[in-house]
Structures are given as C-alpha cells and as structure tokens.
Subunit: 273 residues, 2 copies
Amino acid sequence: MSFVSSLESAWARSDSMLCVGLDPDPSRLPAPLAGRPDAIFSFCRAIVDATAGFACAFKPQIAYFAAARAEDQLEALIAHIHRAHPGTPVILDAKRGDIGATAEQYAREAFERYRADAVTVNPYMGLDSLEPWLAWRDRGVILLCRTSNPGGSDLQALDVGGERLFERVARLAAGSWNISGQVGLVVGATFPAELARVREIVGDLPLLVPGIGAQGGDVEATVRAGGRRMIVNSSRAILYAGGGEEFAAAAAGAARATRDALRDALHEALARR
Amino acid sequence: MSFVSSLESAWARSDSMLCVGLDPDPSRLPAPLAGRPDAIFSFCRAIVDATAGFACAFKPQIAYFAAARAEDQLEALIAHIHRAHPGTPVILDAKRGDIGATAEQYAREAFERYRADAVTVNPYMGLDSLEPWLAWRDRGVILLCRTSNPGGSDLQALDVGGERLFERVARLAAGSWNISGQVGLVVGATFPAELARVREIVGDLPLLVPGIGAQGGDVEATVRAGGRRMIVNSSRAILYAGGGEEFAAAAAGAARATRDALRDALHEALARR
C-alpha cells in the first residue's frame, strides 16, 4: 500500500488531521520517568498510546534521539507504533538531503532501520538527491517547501522569475519531481497566505503543517488555507501539556482538543464554501 | 582555538589541501575485515592512520554509520582521530538543517556526542536555523552552496534577481550570516566556473570542495578556480584504491598522489599569476 493510501485510511479512520510530534527533550521529561535508562522510549510510548485515538500520524524528530544516543529507543518506539497502532503512519522528521550513494544510505536508515512510512527531506540539492528516496515506492517523501520559522524567508521567499522559491519547489513537487505519487510538502502554519498559495499550486498533495501550538499558528486560518488533506503537527503543546504523574492524560486531553478544533474548523470552512 | 585557525594550522603542517572522506560502504569493505563486528571502525581507522600524513582534514559521512547502526563506531573513530592525529580537523558530513530547539539537538549530536570540529549544514531554512550551530563558537559551520551533483542546478542555479541562488548563499555566508567567522561553504569541483565565482564573492572563506576523484572533477581546474583556502575532498578514490590485504597502503598511495597533484596544481596556478 502506498504512503498516500495509508494516510487516506488513517485520516478516515481517525477523523483527525492531527499529527503528534515526538520531540522528547531530555530536560522536559516528566519527573516520574527521570533517570530511567529507557526514559525517552517510555515517555514517547505513553504519549503515543494516550493520543493514538486522536491522531492520523506520529512524527518522531530524530535529533532528540540522536543527541541522547537513543537510536535504539527510536527503533523500539516505531516498532511499538506499528504493532500497537497498525495503520497509523510514522513520519520520520529527519530533513535529510544528500546525493547518490549517500542518499541511498540515508534512505536505508529511515526506511529499513527505523521502518518509517515517510521521511522529511530537504530539496536544496535537487531531483537527483530525491531519487534514492523515491526508489522506495511504498514510502512517502515529504519535502521542505515553506518552513514555519522567520528565517525561512531568507531563501524560500526569494523571487525566482515571477514566483517565489517555495512556489517553485511546490510546482516541481506536484509536477516533474512527483514521479510516482509519493511526494508531500512541509508548509508552516505560521504563514496562512503562503499555505493557501501552496495548496493552489499542488492540488490535493498531502501537506505536513507544523507551527500550530507552541509556534503560534492559528488553527482556523490554517484549515481555511490548507483544506482537508493536511497532516497538522503539534509537538510541545501535547507532549508537555502536563508534567507530573498525569502527563499522558494531559497529552490525551490536549490531543483531543486539537483534533476537535481542527475538525470544527474544517466543518466551518466547508460550510462557508 | 577557532575552526578556521585549526584548519590554517592543519593546512600549513600537512602542506595539503586534501580531505579524506570516510564513507564506509558496507558492500565495499576489504575482504580481510568482512564480518567483523567493528569492521567499519577498523576499516576507517586503518585508512585514517595510513593517510593522515597527506591530509588536512577528515570527513566522515554519517549516513554510512547510521544505516549500519554503527553510531558507536563513528564515536570511536572520531575519538581515535583526535587522539592519534591531534590538530587534524574532523568535519562531520551530516547536511543537517532544522530550527530552534531541534537544531540545538542536532548541534549537540555533532559537537558534543561526536566531538566534530565542523559540520555541514543545509541553508534552505535560513539564518535562524544556523544560529544554534553558530552558538558553538569554536566549531565550523560549512553550508551547502553549489553542490557537485547535476540536480544541484534545479534550485541552486535559479536567478534570484541578478544573481543565482548559490551566489546569494555565498554572499550571505560571507556577509550577514558570518556573525563570528565560523562559516565555510560546500562548492562542488564539478563546476569550476561556479567555484571561481563563489571564490570571487567570499574572499578567503574556507571552501569544502567535493567532486574530484570518483565524481570526475578536474584537479587543475579546481585549484585554478578555488585557490589556496580549500578543503578538497576525495572519498571513494582513496577508500577503495585497493580492496585486499593492502587496502591501507593503496589508500595511502592514492592520498599521496592526490595531495601531490593538488600541490603541483597550486604551485602552477600561483606561478601563472
């Protein structure tokens, strides 16, 4: 089954556009887990199990595991998601980008070692840097397009002959780069007008949208701009909703509230049309 | 000591612009090492020890270690280089790129866990994505500018208002982004005219130049274009110069020949001026 088909099933089954981002900051783990050798895995597993009913996907961010020498815990976490919540796609947020034989190794890391269903990739090196990823036909390749940070404008907003660089990336991603229907795009919720522009360019391509929650993106504006086929990520606002014994219940409450807010915003946006 | 000072000392001491790239492809390890649990470390250590006399730097490519679950071997390798060849900078080729708290974790991975002296970083997300790296003042941050692959042109060669995107990156890297003298650039040897253009823009910024050897870049043209302050990388042509018992001696021979070719080309280029 292709990544996009899996995602469509997950959207339908969960009735949710929420993706729970798994960014386990060692300095913010709940007190009851602190000091345990598997604290990162235990924390993330508890979050996953508490929020799975409200999420269309999970997105572990590899840097948090790598900085903590916890690659084994990341492997165990993704295996747990596949086992306990089958059909919920795992997007490995790694923002890799390299060429040829090296890109093949990165693809093996993400898809074979970690068994991710999709991965985030940086497009700066062009089409031949994407091909080793696209060779894994049942996996998704989600390209950075318009990122949620202020500095994203430094290069992405440059005019490249009548369109901005991120618009060119969107056009390529929906066109000649999307050889086999595996491509999605990262577009930040912090720039709703640009999200709307990307949606206009790419039709029904899946969009991974970070920036709501802790980064301040507005749910209603995001949904009006990006429509239905979005994977809307929230990490810190869910992970750290509560810090003590009840952290998982607090995360579930935050995930449910975000799922509901996204759903209400979608119904309202559709009703307006 | 800053990265650039370390590099200047290493250039002077080694009288070499050669950087030996450590891309240990598991399918190409020499027969005598095959099957050993520490084969990757043993292979790279032997290459390092055989070539250190001819190199100004080493550049391990992290994907090869990560795909093979060999992060511990990468740690051991870099520790070995620091111990056995002190003063020879280690550039971790990771091409990371992310924002805020996540970029801080990637910087911890590269600089604290692996103890790299410098790292390669993708500039697509802009200045605020670089700041967490630049906070490590004694380390180098080497930004992708003009990569050596054909697809590099897809975005990097786009006209962004009178200059190409890679020229803009070069201008920013030599100007407002180079807050504290830590920045270098990756410019492929496969496009000598563009290498010359980058050199014109950035003055004496260090350039990391992949693409000679297996990728076909020409040594004389590279040196004429990029001048003295280059870290010219060769990986496969050195690592796999010989495949049997004598792989380390073959690598040393290839490294010496490349060092000499670079040195001769530099002398010739300087004599012509």
